[in-house]
Subunit: 301 residues, 2 copies
Amino acid sequence: MPLSATSFTPVTATPEAPPGHLVIIGGGEDRSKDMRVLRRFVELTHAANPKIVVLTAASREQERVAEVYRHAFGLLGAQPIVFAMHKRTDAADPQVLDHLLQADGVFMTGGDQRKLLSIIGGTRTSAAMHRIYRERGACIAGTSAGASAMSEHMLAEGWVNPHPAKGAVDLAAGLGFLPRAIVDQHFSERQRLGRLLTVVAQNPYLLGVGIDEDTALVIERGLGLEVVGQGAVTLVDGREMQSDFLELYDRDLIELHNARLHLLPDGARHGMQEGAAPDSSPMPQPLREAVAILCSGEYPG
Amino acid sequence: MPLSATSFTPVTATPEAPPGHLVIIGGGEDRSKDMRVLRRFVELTHAANPKIVVLTAASREQERVAEVYRHAFGLLGAQPIVFAMHKRTDAADPQVLDHLLQADGVFMTGGDQRKLLSIIGGTRTSAAMHRIYRERGACIAGTSAGASAMSEHMLAEGWVNPHPAKGAVDLAAGLGFLPRAIVDQHFSERQRLGRLLTVVAQNPYLLGVGIDEDTALVIERGLGLEVVGQGAVTLVDGREMQSDFLELYDRDLIELHNARLHLLPDGARHGMQEGAAPDSSPMPQPLREAVAILCSGEYPG
């Protein structure tokens, strides 16, 4: 895509600690044909025959889902190891932790993000994922519920309304890989702009991230981001937004002014540092700040 | 709605020339129950037993549509006079022009905006509508195709894609009541944000206006605007937007940065002049400019 470039200059990575990646997938990724999104995840483990731990805890049909990803990752030349988890003690199993600490990548399947968090939130499994992401540059991926779970403040549930409406969304605690963003998935397919705007109207310090099906937002820690897949990633920045949220009753439509929208389709690629990626046109400052929020996990300035 | 107020101070109107109104309806307005949108149109003619000319030219079933609005406007205490038009000479009929020049309101029905413009665009009917709007403060309304027809640059046709895509929209010449805006209707019901963003990416000097069903954007000429109905009005301001539109192939998804979005639900009401409406909170400057674009028909500054 002309607005972006082909590589970032790794300004913070060292040979000892390459930057970790997050691959945040909007659900419905192809698992049997070209597998562009899953293939990019496997590439970003930067290992030949990478060891990938698959966590199916979000799903109600863990064995069926496990089979799908065993097959897909096998086709892509990886070694998938699937762990089903049904209760929190499963997430403290020493065998699971041994595998996680040696993994090149971790993949969280879809299902229900509340189920996923109720099983792995705050456990040694979650801690091991953070450790290999930060210390060993592992690649952490999640699709659908697994994508929502990535953020610190997690979109747990919401009713669909084409417009933002007070009380339309419930938040919960997530895994914390994205401290200042909130992720919604199946985004344009399920018309979720209204509920993402609801979250941002109520929480203007969170950057809204809507990810379409068969599409991934890829974050290279401290460096930049890219978009891969059939759809697009929608960013909603509400830091300058005004709304009448506080003065409404439940389910009233919210009036809001001055939301900023960025739309990043397949191939979009932006570095966090000025000049890190040789853009053909300079990014507007609000987009640069949004990239910084996503990639550093902190607000700029 | 708390962000807005209940009345504008008429700063330019004189007793001789009260300000005209535009009532731009997103289609599907209630025509038999509470009729909030049609009732507001009738009120804004500021006449007891107002004379309303109904133009059905957009429709392929003009007699059926005529009957619906004869009934509805009769219930609302107005005198509807319906003119079917099939060819351009019908739009120069002296009898039609006589009625138009005496009308308190004009209502354009739904159908196909290209058919409507092919029959009345540039005719004495169109000129008479402009004249009574500007000189006598008449109220000009349109629903669905009749709403799209209001702008100078008219959204004629477009395929639906959840995201903006190059070549997704065709423009045509409209009636010119809104020189610097472009109207889309059935907006959230038919998921048309993508096509409106396409128009704005290609024409960043046009303000995108998306109107939901059973919802009207009401413009008081030179003064302010309000929203009435079940849904909301979405404004897309692309004046600071960057996109890669010029570098793409047809049907490619467009990458865009820095679109501004305002969402105005039922009850939103904003004056064009600072202080004209006693807002409980000041409008951000971009919204004030958008209101000015819509109500003055000119860019500010």
